[in-house]
Symmetry: C2
Subunit: 408 residues, 2 copies
C-alpha cells in the first residue's frame, strides 16, 4: 500500500491570494458596475522591453534552423548568461562571484522552495514574520516545521523574527535559546518593503559565520534599491561567501513574471559539515531539472546589454514613481506608511485599529481598491495592509486618491 507524504497534509488549507480573489469576485458579482483597482498581488503590468523582445525573436528563429537549433541546455545555465550575471550583478559591484557560481533557473519562487532540500530534516529554520509564505510552506512539506498552533498562528519548530514598527519592519538577530541553522532573509523585504544598511547586514553575516548558520538571502527586489548605503547583494559583506546563498529573479526588474527566469548564487567556499553546498545544488539541478529554455536565457542575456539596462531602468522608474505616489499620497492623507523607497511594496498601518481583513474589506467595498491583508503573511502582519507599485500609473493614482478620500 502506497503512503502519502504526511507533512503535506499539515499545510494550512487556506491560501491568501485565492481567498482575496474569492472576496473580490464575490464583491464584483454583487456590484457589477464597481470599477475595482487591484494593488494586491505582486505581478507586473508593463510589457517586456524592446531588447528582450528582439532577443527572443532572434532566438526563436535560431530554433527554426537546423544549423542553429539548440536541444538540451546545460543543466546549470548557458555560459553566456551565467557570465553576464556574474559580471554585471556581482563583479561590477565588487562582489567576488565566479561565472560558474551562478545557477540559472526558472525563477526565484522555485529556487526558494527547492533550496531547503539540500539540507537535512533536523535543521532549525528562522523566518521573518510577516513572511513570503513559500519559505515556510516548503519547510512544512519537508517536515521541518513541527505543528501549527492555531492560537499563535505559528509553527512549533520554526524560529520567527518579528518585523515590527520599532525596528523599521526589519528582523532582529535571534537572541533566544534556539540558534537557527537556516535563516531566510529577504531584502528589500516582501511584504514590508523594509531594507537594512550594509553595516546591519554585516551583523547577520557575522552571526551566521559564528554559529555555522546558512543565510538564504532573497534579493528578488534589489533593482528597486534607491539609497546608497543599502546593499544590493549579501556578497557586499565580508565573509558572506562562507555562509550565504543568494536568490535573484528577472521577474521584478525586467518584468519576467510570465517569462520565468531567475538564478541562485552558491559560492564554492560555502561548506556545511565539510560538504560544498555548491555540489549538492549542482547535483539537484542535474537530477531534477533540465535548464531554462534557450529562448528565455537569451531574453535574460538581453537585459544585460547597455540598451537592456537602460530599458529596465525605465521599467523600475515607472513602478517606483507609483510607489512614491502611494507613499506620499497616503502620508498626506494621515496614514502611517513605510516601504516604497527601496522596494515596490508599501506597508500601510490600518487606521482606527482595524484588523488587516477589516481594512481590506473597507478598501474593497468603499474605495474599490484591492490590497493584501498583512495578517496573511504572518501574525506580526496583523494591523497592516500591503499595496504594490506594479499597477498602471493612472490607475494607481486613482486608487490612492480613493483611499485618501475615505480616510480623511
Amino acid at each position: 500500500m502506497a503512503k502519502i507524504n504526511r507533512d503535506y497534509t499539515k499545510l494550512r488549507s487556506s491560501y491568501l491570494f485565492s481567498d482575496i480573489a474569492k472576496k473580490v469576485a464575490a464583491y464584483q458579482s454583487s456590484n457589477p458596475s464597481a470599477d475595482i483597482i487591484r494593488l494586491g498581488i505582486g505581478d507586473v503590468t508593463r510589457p517586456l522591453t524592446p531588447s528582450v523582445i528582439e532577443a527572443m525573436h532572434k532566438a526563436v528563429d535560431e530554433m527554426a534552423d537546423e544549423k542553429t537549433f539548440r536541444g538540451y541546455a546545460p543543466d546549470l545555465g548557458y555560459d553566456f548568461l551565467r557570465s553576464a550575471i556574474a559580471s554585471h550583478d556581482y563583479r561590477k559591484r565588487g562582489c567576488d562571484i565566479a561565472d560558474d557560481e551562478i545557477f540559472v533557473s526558472d525563477g526565484a519562487k522555485s529556487d526558494s522552495g527547492n533550496i531547503q532540500e539540500i539540507f537535512g530534516k533536523d535543521n532549525v529554520v528562522a523566518v521573518c514574520d510577516p513572511v513570503y509564505p513559500v519559505y515556510v510552506d516548503t519547510n512544512v512539506m519537508a517536515g521541518r516545521a513541527g505543528e501549527f498552533a492555531e492560537d499563535a498562528g505559528r509553527w512549533s519548530d520554526v524560529v520567527y523574527m518579528p518585523c515590527l514598527e520599532e525596528n523599521g519592519f526589519a528582523p532582529m538577530i535571534p537572541s533566544g535559546d534556539r540558534v537557527p541553522d537556516i535563516i531566510y532573509l529577504c531584502f528589500p523585504n516582501n511584504p514590508t518593503g523594509a531594507t537594512i544598511v550594509k553595516s546591519e547586514l554585516q551583523k547577520w553575516v557575522d552571526y551566521a559565520n559564528e554559529h555555522g548558520s546558512v543565510i538564504i538571502y532573497d534579493a528578488a527586489y534589489e533593482a528597486y534599491i534607491s539609497e546608497d548605503d543599502v546593499p544590493h547583494s549579501i556578497y557586499e559583506c565580508d565573509g558572506a561567501r562562507t555562509c550565504a546563498i543568494e536568490l535573484r529573479s528577472f521577474s521584478k526588474n525586467a518584468g519576467f513574471t510570465g517569462v520565468r527566469l531567475g538564478f541562485t548564487v552558491i559560492p564554492k567556499d560555502l561548506k556545511v559539515e565539510g560538504v560544498r553546498l555548491y555540489d549538492l545544488w549542482a547535483r539537484r539541478h542535474g537530477t531534477k531539472y533540465n535548464g531554462a529554455p534557450y529562448i528565455i536565457q537569451r531574453a535574460g542575456e538581453a537585459v544585460y546589454s547597455d540598451k537592456g539596462q537602460e530599458e529596465i531602468k525605465g521599467l523600475v522608474k515607472y513602478y517606483m514613481d507609483n510607489a512614491a505616489y502611494i507613499l506620499n499620497g497616503l502620508k498626506k492623507a494621515g496614514l502611517c506608511v513605510s516601504g516604497g523607497v527601496n522596494a515596490p511594496y508599501i506597508w500601510v498601518k490600518t487606521p482606527e485599529g482595524l484588523s488587516s481583513w477589516e481594512y481590506f474589506d473597507r478598501l474593497l467595498t468603499v474605495a474599490n481598491v484591492v490590497g493584501t491583508p498583512g495578517s496573511g503573511f504572518g501574525p506580526s502582519g496583523e494591523g497592516y495592509l500591503r499595496l504594490t507599485a506594479f499597477g498602471n500609473s493612472e490607475r494607481t493614482k486613482e486608487a490612492v486618491d480613493r483611499i485618501a478620500g475615505i480616510v480623511i
Copy 2:
C-alpha cells in the same frame, strides 16, 4: 550548525553521460581528424516546426504590448493548453481525462524527479533494470533507496524488475516478498526501446489496484508507437484512474528538448490513504513552481493544431526512418538488436561477449561512433549498448555502415 541532507551524499558520484563525454573528448583530442558520430544522448537534432515557430513569434509580440502582456501564469497551466492536451492526447483516444487533470510543467524530467515528493519516505519503490537514472536518484535523495551494494550495483531498499532478452526487454510483475508501493514504468522504454501490448499493461494496472500500489507511467516516447496493439496511454486500461499517474513530454514528439514543456496527469480518482494525489501535486505546483512560460505554452498549443500535428508526424517519421535503418542495418550485419519499432532507441547486444564499455570503446575507436553503454542504466544492461535515432539522417546511415563494417 546547519546540517546537510545526508541522503544526497549517498548518490553515486559518477554520471553516465559525463563519463561518456570525457572519453569522447579524450579520444577526439588524441585523434583530431577523427569524424565522430554521436548516437549516444537522447537529444533531438531537427529544428522546431513552422507552426511552433509562428506561435512563439506571435506570443513574443503579445508580451511586447501592454494590452496583451501576460504576467504570472496559472500555476497548473493555461486552460488553452490543458484543454488541447486532454482533448487530443486522451479523450480522442477514448481515455477519460478531464482538462483540469493535466498539470503543465517544464518537462518530464522535472516531473519524474519531483513526483516522489508527494509520497512518504516509507514506500517501497520498484524500477526497471536497466532504468532511466532520474527515477532512482531522486528516491536516493529522498532517503527511500537504502544503501548501495557495490557488488550487485543495486540499492538495498529498491525492488528491481530486470528487463531481459527472454521477456523482450520488458519488466515482469514483481512476485517476490516485497510488494512495491510505487512502480515506475516507462513505455516505450528508455533505454531498451521495448513496449508491451495493452493486455499486458492491463495486468500491471490490475496488480496495482489489487495491492494499493501507484504506477508512475512515463510515456515520454508515446509518439513513436507504430503498432496498433501498443497502448499510448495507461488510461487506455480499465481501472488506471485509481492507480496511475502518467508523465508526458513535448521533447521527443515536437523537438522541445531545449524549449522545455511537459505535463503530468493525475486523475481525481487516484487516492492514497484516502487523500487525492491530485490535491497534493496541485499544492506542490502552487508552492514550488510558477508555471511554464506563456510563450512556451503557446508553442505547446500549436503542436495540437491540424498543421502542427502534420508537422510533428513528419518529425517523428524522420527519426523513425533512422531507427529502421539502424535496426535493419545492424541485423543484416549479424548483430542482435531490438527496440526501434515503437521507440527511438535501439538496444544492441554486444558481440563476442564484450562488456558494454568494451563495446563502447570499440565503436568509438574503430568506427568513431558514440553509443551509450547499457550497463550505465543498471546491471541488467550489461552486455548491451543503446543507440538513438535522433541524429541527422545521413550521419546515422554513415554510422550504421561503419558499425556493420567492423562486425562482419
